[in-house]
């Protein structure tokens, strides 16, 4: 959708577009049917260096900013591909980069940059804690030079397609800390050795092809050297990484919205009913135009959040709002696209229903719209905490 590219990172977008052209709709349709992982697509992105753009050059990455990563992911979505299979490889490493020891950075980041190591699983959510992260129950008990982990995580995406997992676990029981967000620590779990040794992964089949899992820990051992930063301060380490995640997923939503609008426009111009293209009806063209305008507004919000992030400014509010507005825009564009296509929108060969299912996720993940509203109400507007 070159007509309304933002002018940012045009050459990157152009190259990503060429790469995506090698993975046409048919490729994604087959994967969707089998709920299979897009291994070839992810390999191509890795080899082209797109998944290492946030890793500094001294650790083997290209050291571009979050806006470059956003341009990459947005373009992937706008071209009809799906970056959800690997977007976390871009940003989960940020916690190690910002809070890990020099030894950890040297050990992991260069291999993450080449793709030799995949760090794209993030064990946070639990069946009983949901968004209320501080009430998580998974516990890591220190035992000499290792930690023994027991507990369970859910909605851990790509756990089967990742070598490492970033794990959030309690190291001090909740009733023994003054602040409930204290006593939580972050670990790097090498799933290659843990699998079968206390670690069990169970895939969850969902309405779209997303490779999400539940993960069980039964006396799983983690070397003490895999603790990131200081014990008990992990909650803060995780929070600082969430802004990047939200900005990037917002960019994906903008890309989705562009795909839906392009697809709607193309169909509305071609499809003839009552002797004229259906795009000539206000009832068809106005919703498409409205969704397009909503996408452009969200896109500006994403750019603003990315700009603040790159300038090292606080961007919690902007990243959250960008994600909500972009997710709303993509969902609106998706709904309009399905409606514009009429019955054909439901046919798999048009890809609309698949993208529709895929983009619906972002009303819920990585953070639900309600929690963003709660954040804005409380932290931006100064209203009383509502939950």
């Amino acid at each position: 959708m070159t007509a309304h590219d933002s002018g940012l990172h045009d050459s990157i977008r152009e190259e990503v577009r060429k790469l995506c052209a090698r993975f046409p709709a048919d490729y994604w349709r087959k994967l969707d049917e089998a709920r299979a992982y897009p291994t070839d697509f992810v390999r191509a992105l890795t080899e082209a260096g797109y998944l290492s753009v946030l890793i500094p050059e001294e650790y083997g990455g290209t050291g571009l900013g979050v806006s470059a990563a956003a341009a990459i992911l947005e373009t992937i979505q706008a071209e009809g591909c799906n970056g959800a299979a690997c977007h976390a490889q871009l940003y989960i490493m940020g916690t190690i980069l910002r809070h890990g020891s020099e030894a950890q950075k040297r050990r992991y980041l260069p291999k993450i940059a080449t793709g030799e190591l995949r760090l794209q699983a993030f064990g946070v959510t639990e069946p009983t804690s949901g968004t209320d992260t501080s009430s998580l129950r998974t516990f890591a008990r220190r035992d000499g030079d290792r930690y023994i982990v027991n507990g369970q995580k859910i909605w851990t995406s790509r756990a089967e397609h990742s070598d490492l997992m970033l794990l959030l676990a309690r190291t001090t029981p909740r009733d023994q800390v003054t602040k409930k967000t204290d006593g939580i620590s972050v670990f790097i779990v090498d799933m290659r050795t843990a699998l079968g040794n206390g670690l069990t992964i169970r895939p969850i089949r969902t309405m779209m092809n997303h490779s999400t899992c539940e993960v069980f820990f039964d006396n799983m051992e983690v070397p003490a050297e895999n603790l990131v930063g200081e014990e008990g301060k992990g909650f803060r380490y995780i929070l600082s990484g969430m802004n990047a995640e939200r900005i990037l997923i917002a960019a994906e939503c903008v890309g989705d919205a562009k795909w839906f609008t392009d697809t709607s426009v193309k169909y509305a111009r071609e499809r003839q009913v009552f002797g004229k293209p259906i795009g000539g009806n206000q009832g068809i063209q106005f919703p498409i135009a409205k969704a397009y305008a909503a996408m452009r507004a969200a896109e500006l919000m994403v750019h603003d959040a990315a700009r603040r992030y790159e300038a090292g400014l606080d961007c919690g509010a902007e990243a959250n709002m960008a994600k909500m507005l972009a997710a709303d825009a993509s969902w609106e564009a998706a709904n309009v696209c399905l409606q514009t296509h009429g019955g054909f929108g439901f046919a798999e060969e048009y890809d609309v229903e698949r993208k529709f299912r895929e983009t619906r996720l972002y009303q819920v993940a990585p953070i639900s719209t309600n929690l963003i509203l709660a954040y804005v109400a409380e932290h931006v507007l100064g209203l009383p905490r509502s939950y």
């Binding site: 009806n281 206000q282 009832g283 106005f286």
Partner: protein
């Protein structure tokens, strides 16, 4: 009171007879009465009395017609369609508790008696704090419609309903002008002489509320009718604007809301005329008033928008409907109040105590 073909025919005849006074095609009379001393025409109110409208719900033994809410709503709908300014619905509420000789005087249009019951801004149902001692009443009443046009008021108190003359010593009327050119008053009673009445005004509140919902329904239908007629003649880009799908679809959405309000009002009127429990009856009234208030505001606002620039001028009649809807939507409780009351009556104590925000366009 069962609904028979005979009664439906009666309701139809009431609608027809209403057309003489309530002309939905010409709101010039309403326009002229705006911002006048009383805000309505006492002679027209008397004509309404002569047609038997004031006593429509009163038993025949009390000088009324003994009809039900189906008939009352049919009438109120016609009044709303012509946005007539006379306070027939409040006056019909008051007349139910009057004693002789005031009842006959009121039914003949010689005496205008209006109700004063509300003391809390957000809750028309709250029990009154106003009290009466040795025939003297003290208290404060809000939102009394058109008090400058009243000869007397029926006032609720802890000791029951009382009649207070508008010129009684110890009564101060503070009137404010409303959006629609009528006025509303805060009545302050300070040991004002009061006569005890046999009935309780509160028992008629739900009927008056439902009649107001019917008035708002009539308003919504009429303003949409006018708007659709305008879309069929107004030309832009060489086409009547009614050919634009965006406007057609918007009118359809408005029609849907008006129809939903209609079925709620008609259903509530049938329930009110049936021998059902008080909670079921009140829940139906709340449902109808919530829908009618929202629908009237929505349709009237959109009607202004659909008229474009001319709709924003005072000389265009379309604004009269919006202003009337703004004044009557909260009367006898607005949509947020009635949604909360409906929830409490339908779902019991588990329902949320505070009213939800009103849904408007």
């Amino acid at each position: 009171m069962t609904i028979t073909a005979e009664r439906l025919e009666g309701a139809r005849m009431i609608r027809e007879s209403a057309a003489g006074i309530a002309d939905r095609g010409d709101v010039g009379r309403t326009r002229k009465l705006r911002f006048s001393e009383t805000g309505f025409d006492r002679q027209i109110l008397k004509e309404m009395c002569d047609l038997g409208w004031l006593g429509l719900r009163l038993p025949e033994s009390d000088g009324g017609s003994g009809l039900g809410m189906v008939e009352m709503c049919a009438l109120a709908e016609e009044l709303g369609a012509a946005i007539v300014p006379e306070p027939l619905i409040p006056a019909a509420l008051a007349v139910r508790v009057l004693a002789e000789p005031e009842r006959t005087a009121a039914l003949e249009g010689r005496l205008v008696v209006l109700p004063a019951f509300q003391e809390q801004a957000a809750d028309p149902d709250a029990a009154p704090a106003t009290s009466v001692q040795q025939g003297r009443i003290s208290g404060r009443k809000l939102f009394v419609p058109s008090p400058r046009g009243a000869d007397a008021f029926v006032v609720t108190s802890r000791e029951g309903s009382f009649l207070v003359r508008s010129d009684a010593p110890g009564l101060v009327i503070e009137a404010v002008t409303m959006q629609d050119g009528s006025h509303s008053g805060t009545l302050v009673f300070n040991d004002a002489p009061a006569e005890k009445l046999p009935g309780r005004l509160e028992d008629g509140l739900d009927d008056a509320c439902l009649a107001t919902a019917a008035y708002l329904l009539g308003l919504a239908d009429a303003v949409l009718e006018r708007t659709v007629a305008y879309l069929k003649v107004r030309k832009q880009f060489g086409a009547v604007i009614g050919t634009f799908q965006a406007l057609q679809h918007r009118c359809v959405d408005l029609k849907l809301q008006a129809v939903l309000a209609r079925v709620s009002v008609e259903d509530a009127a049938r329930i009110a005329d049936t021998n059902v429990g008080i909670d079921e009856r009140r829940a139906a009234v709340s449902r109808a008033k919530a829908r009618a208030s929202d629908a009237a505001l929505l349709v009237a606002r959109q009607a202004v928008q659909l008229h474009g620039g001319i709709g924003f001028t005072d000389e265009c009649d379309i604004g009269l409907y919006l202003r009337k809807a703004m004044v009557l939507a909260p009367a006898f409780g607005g949509s947020a109040f009635h949604r909360a009351r409906f929830a409490a009556l339908t779902f019991g104590d588990s329902a949320e105590a505070s009213p939800a925000p009103a849904r408007t366009a």
